[in-house]
């Protein structure tokens, strides 16, 4: 809340509610504000004058009356602190000058117009102050000057701090937004651009859309980093499924029970599953493949199934590397196993298993 907009509080008022209003604006205990005013009242009646000034300002908007009262109150205060007349005059000139500058320059924004008259007045005050301030009380005066300057400059510092806080919140928010924007740009916007370029190829558009959907879903619902395929078994399988969809224009339905981290055996499992999906997409002659991953305490299994042409194992040439090397050999090397159930006309199901590592 800005210092300039405080209003007297009618709920908690003792006299006119000025102290309670200030307390509300600053978020402090009203008793504390009242105590400060009481102490100031002892200083040549400054507190009383200041109170009247604030009341005049807020209640009736009589700005000049308020300014005059505040000015007199300041002078009374400085006098009470034991400053010489010259010092008081100097400080008064500085205060008046800065007040003028403030009125003109708004909230000290670098681009707001400054009042040169105000600054001149303040400079004159400084000269008066420095040339005679030390004569009255060598010990008290410097402290009083510092205190007075703090009184004048305090509100500005306060305001600047508030503005910096607001700026920081806004900056954090905009950083978050640009983080999301970067992720969305790298994935969703790229995909949309690709879709526009390939608008005449329905299969490609469908697979692009599905791949993007899968990725976005992983990010939204499963906290998988967008575009990071190695985060978990499911993320890796989803990425493999997306690749197969994109390359071969099929639909891969991915279901799962449980998930796990990707270690080398699981990584081999994913590659074998990808090969099985590719085979199904190329040879089965169907447009949908079902993939199911199951993680139990001691084994990770993946099933890849299609309802397509199927094949007779005995007739597959030994040179067909896809089946022998990329699926069976790969699983054996990591201590896993695979089984392939297929017959002509009844589709194919490939089952892949690896034991879960001890870690």
């Amino acid at each position: 809340m800005s210092l300039r907009t405080f209003a007297p509080s009618s709920d908690e008022r003792v006299i006119a509610g000025v102290c309670a209003g200030i307390a509300q604006t600053l978020g402090v205990d009203p008793t504390l504000v009242r105590l400060v005013f009481a102490l100031l009242a002892l200083a040549g009646g400054a507190g009383i004058l200041l109170y009247l000034a604030l009341w005049a300002w807020t209640a009736g908007k009589r700005v000049w009356v308020a300014a005059l009262l505040a000015f007199v109150s300041g002078v009374a205060l400085l006098g009470a602190l034991g400053l010489s007349d010259r010092a008081v005059l100097g400080i008064a000139l500085i205060a008046g000058g800065l007040a003028l500058a403030w009125r003109q320059g708004g909230s000290f924004h670098p681009d707001a117009p400054l009042s040169y008259g105000g600054i001149g007045l303040a400079a004159l005050g400084t000269v008066v102050l420095l040339s005679g301030g030390g004569t009255s009380s060598a010990l008290l005066a410097p402290g009083a000057v510092a205190g007075a300057l703090l009184l004048i400059g305090g509100p500005w510092v306060w305001r600047l701090a508030l503005e910096r806080d607001v700026e920081r919140t806004a900056r954090i928010r905009s950083e978050e937004r640009s983080d999301v924007a970067a992720r969305v740009h790298d994935s969703v916007l790229q995909t949309l651009a690709l879709i526009q370029r390939h608008a005449n190829e329905p299969r490609r558009v469908a697979s692009l859309a599905r791949r993007q959907e899968r990725e976005l879903r992983g990010w939204l619902y499963a906290d998988q980093p967008l575009g990071d395929d190695s985060a978990s078994l499911l993320a890796a399988l989803a990425a493999a499924a997306g690749d197969v969809e994109e390359l071969h224009g099929v639909r891969v339905e991915l279901a799962s029970a449980g998930d796990c981290r990707v270690d080398p055996p699981v990584s081999a499992l994913v590659l074998a599953a990808r090969e099985a999906m590719t085979n199904a997409a190329k040879f089965a002659g169907v447009d949908e493949i079902d993939v199911y991953a199951e993680v139990t305490e001691d084994v990770v299994s993946v099933f890849v199934r299609d309802r397509g042409a199927g094949f007779d194992r005995t007739r597959v040439k030994k040179t067909r590397r896809g089946l022998v090397e990329s699926i069976e050999g790969r699983m054996e090397r990591v201590g896993g196993s695979s089984s392939i159930v297929s017959s002509p006309g009844n589709g194919t199901e490939v089952e892949l298993r690896v034991p879960r590592s001890a870690t």
Partner: protein
């Protein structure tokens, strides 16, 4: 006789797509885009099946089921959603939906699912089957009713085959059962899903103030 169906979804484009895909397979008697619209409409039309989006602008699908079920016990609900978040699916199933399918389902499969739900059976997508297997892990500590909190080995087998992409007919052939028996296993699983007090399920239900 074609099944009388009401569609509830706030995406007009999607509604139009579903209507076109279902074609002549069912009779779409009405459609609504919000909870406030859907509740009086369903009470008035008394359809056989309501196809229900999980997320609506003024609430979630389970609010509709809760508001309608007491007055129109004959109406069956099939949830249809893009959301894979387990708690969303579980909330609408526990409110009383007879099944859950994802929006990428084909028109023919959707028509078959509607028919199945209309005759009182349950419909599980592979994803939902996988999720249920996960939520009902064997060996977990359970405190409630064991009959409701555990799946039988046979039910696990059936669910696993659903997750692997098998249709009821194929499951029946593979396990040497009748299709009716497979259906009754799935219906039992649905009942457990709705009534079990298992921690995973209860937690989501509590978050959505169902219990």
């Amino acid at each position: 006789m074609k099944r009388r169906v009401v569609l509830v979804d706030d995406h007009d484009l999607f509604l139009a797509g579903v209507r076109a895909e279902l074609g002549e397979a069912v009779e779409v008697v009405g459609q609504a885009g919000s909870v406030a619209e859907a509740v009086p409409l369903i009470k008035e039309l008394d359809p056989e099946v309501v196809l229900l989006d999980v997320h609506l602008p003024d609430g979630s699908g389970d609010a509709i089921i809760n508001a309608v079920a007491a007055d129109r016990p004959g109406v069956r609900f099939l949830a249809l959603s893009v959301s894979d978040a387990a708690e969303d699916v579980i909330a609408v199933i526990r409110a009383g939906a007879r099944g859950y399918v994802t929006k990428t389902i084909s028109g023919a499969e959707l028509a078959a699912a509607i028919e199945r739900v209309a005759t009182g059976d349950a419909v599980f997508s592979p994803r939902l089957a996988g999720f249920v297997l996960d939520a009902f892990r064997p060996g977990d500590q359970v405190t409630g009713d064991a009959e409701l909190d555990e799946l039988t080995p046979r039910e696990r087998e059936v669910l696993q085959l659903i997750a692997r992409g098998y249709m009821y007919k194929e499951i029946a052939a593979r396990l040497h059962l009748s299709v009716k028996t497979v259906e009754s296993h799935v219906s039992n699983v649905l009942r457990k899903l709705q009534l079990s007090t298992r921690h995973e399920l209860a937690r989501w239900a509590t978050q959505h103030r169902l219990v």
